[in-house]
Amino acid sequence: MSETITIKSMAEWQAEGKSPEVLFWVGCAGSFDDRAKRITRSITTILHHAGISFGVLGTEEACTGDPAKRAGNEFLFQMMAMTNISVLNGYNIKKIVTGCPHCFNTLKNEYPGLGGNYEVLHHTEFIKNLLDEGRIKIEGGDFKGKKIVFHDPCYLGRGNGIYEAPRKVIEVLDADLTELKRSREKGLCCGAGGAQMFKEAEPGNKEVNIERSEEILAENPAVVATGCPFCMTMMTDGVKHFNKESEVKVLDVAELLVNSLKK
């Protein structure tokens, strides 16, 4: 993508006296993790391409508190939540799209009880809607006929029952979407959730992401698709562990789509 997209913060929108269609909640991984930043830019490219006006909170965004909550620190979670809610409500935010299932789950399910009520969509849902409404179209594409497996992120799938949206997006690429043995309701975790991302695993005989990668690599896919920056890290590491990174790409659903957008 050579086109530069200007990213406008909510403060800038407000200064212009306008408000965008949606707030793009980038999330911590999407803001700071180098690999996840590429996903973030793909999402903004898609939004821009579809002509969606969007804003970000930029430096006013703070961790949703998800990892604190799952680690058992409800205090810190609620502090983060209430701080974020006062920012979001201050901008009178109605609709949020997120690039991370954890942010998505927390904003959508856990913020309302603390006074934050928004329509929250995961980016795979948002993109699926754009495709359905014809606001983006697909052309040619590098993935035609390629074997793609989708790894269900726990907080998107089991956590919120969203199994079809990411698959629908992959299907428009005319790829050979293959289901893993453990998929949808039975999908196996990547090993990062519940604050595991931030610590060494307990003693055992294998890492969870290795177990999952074995299952994935047994299918010999060209691409492992996912919709979560944490799954991204875990799956990328897993594929590298088996020295398969040149054969098997790990990509976010947004990244899959971005190169096939019809100009």
């Binding site: 604190a68 058992g72 620190n73 409800e74 307990e202 005989n205 999952r212």
Partner: protein, 436 residues
């Protein structure tokens, strides 16, 4: 009323009273849990109970065991009509009182026999799966000792009860054919016992009567014993599965509850101008340390658990060799609340024994291995939520004991200071927009 009827009435009443007493204890134990409102969305709850508890919908994600289990379940429920007959006959000294149904009666009995045969076959296969082919989730270490014996006992009891039913019918039929005056109901050739009747061709009438009576008493005493056995067994699920599914959490699985006790304090922290509410009588406790800190629903979950291990077999931590097993979390919770109940019976207050669910039963190592992936919750055929117990215990570890692993503490400090779980500066949050 003859002597046998009197004995029957005494035995029957004694069994019912005993069951009532023990069931009341379980109900009292469950009520030791914290309050929780699950009285909303009744229609949805009835539908869920019909599908998941009655229809066993979630079982069918593994079709073969589900089918066998369905036979055993349906058989067991329907054959209880037969038990009703036994009870009436037992009290009034009648013989096969339901035969007033006329032509329908043999048909009904025949269908019971078919079901009883399926129950027997199912139980035999289940015994084989547990003891010979050793299906992994059914032979894991946490089942050593009583849980394993319990599972086998249930299967053997069911097979024995069904066998008694067949032999009772076979002896009855032979007695009818021989013209015995008391055995005057023609049940016809039954699909299973019909083939057994041949064995008894040379038997004296008195021997046949003895066999018939023996099987009859065995069947009913067996069922009464079974009823009382439930309270110490994982088999309690045949009753509790229904209320447990009814009171399921209806929210998306990813949603965790927001602790209300925390909300008040956080509001005060963020806005010091607010007037603090009066201090509560008992100091607030954050998270759960003992079984009595859990909600009544979590305790009901524990009593409902059938120890089937579907949760554990899908748990990523357990699959990769970690100590955590969601089934064990449920078994531990039941063992602990049972222990608290027994202490109460002896006049000791909860916690007076110096033990707790956390550490004495469930170790932090188990708790920290959980990825909160919800695979266990999804897999449980009776909608048990082991994850919520794990989270409540974690909350206690972190908020009451500051006992998180170091890396977790580091992550928490980062969130607090940098508003991001890693060591980055919050000022750099939008840098991605400038990068390529």
């Amino acid at each position: 009323m003859g002597i046998p009827n009197l004995i029957f009435v005494v035995v029957f009443l004694a069994a019912c009273i005993l069951f009532w007493r023990n069931a009341s204890k379980i109900s009292r134990n469950i009520k030791l849990g914290m309050p929780l409102d699950r009285s909303d969305r009744k229609g949805e709850r009835w539908r869920l109970m019909t599908l998941v508890a009655f229809g066993q919908k979630k079982m069918f994600s593994r079709p073969w065991p589900a089918l066998l289990h369905f036979f055993v379940y349906a058989g067991f429920v329907i054959i209880n009509i037969e038990v009703a007959e036994i009870v009436i006959d037992g009290i009034f000294g009648t013989h096969r009182v339901l035969s007033v149904a006329g032509g329908l009666y043999p048909l009904m009995l025949a269908s019971f026999e078919v079901l009883a045969f399926l129950v027997t076959a199912g139980c035999v296969i289940f015994l084989i799966r547990r003891n010979i082919t050793k299906v992994k989730r059914l032979v894991m270490k946490e089942l050593d000792g009583w849980p394993k014996t319990d599972a086998n006992l249930i299967l053997i009891m069911e097979i024995s009860l069904m066998t008694a039913f067949f032999f009772m019918n076979a002896a009855d039929r032979s007695l009818f054919i021989s013209g015995h005056p008391h055995y005057n109901v023609d049940i016809g050739f039954m699909p299973v016992s019909g083939y057994l009747a041949g064995f008894f061709s040379g038997w004296e009438s008195s021997q046949l009567v003895f066999l018939e009576r023996f099987c009859w008493w065995f069947h009913i005493i067996g069922i009464l014993a079974f009823l009382n056995y439930l309270v110490v067994s994982k088999h309690l699920h045949i009753i509790l599965a229904f209320p447990n599914v009814f009171f399921s959490r209806l929210e998306p699985k990813g949603k965790f509850d927001n602790l209300e006790s925390v909300t008040g304090e956080v509001k005060l922290m963020l806005d010091p101008t607010l007037t603090p509410p009066p201090a509560p009588e008992t100091p607030l406790k954050f998270g759960a340390r003992d079984a009595t800190d859990l909600s009544w629903k979590q305790l009901l979950d524990a009593y409902t658990c059938t120890e089937c291990g579907r949760c554990t077999s899908e748990c990523p931590a357990n699959i990769t060799g970690k100590k955590l097993s969601p089934r064990k979390i449920m078994m531990d919770t039941r063992d602990r609340i049972d222990e608290i109940g027994k202490n109460l019976d002896k006049g000791k207050k909860p916690g007076e024994d110096g033990k707790a669910l956390l550490n004495d039963y469930i170790s932090p190592e188990e708790l920290w291995a959980c990825t909160s992936c919800n695979a266990c919750v999804q897999a449980c055929p009776v909608n048990i939520d082991p994850l919520s117990i794990i989270m409540d215990l974690r909350r206690y570890l972190v908020m009451e004991q500051s006992a998180a692993p170091n890396e977790i503490n580091l992550m928490l400090t980062n969130i607090e200071n940098n508003h991001v779980p890693w060591q980055f500066s919050p000022a750099d949050r939008l840098n991605w927009a400038q990068e390529k």
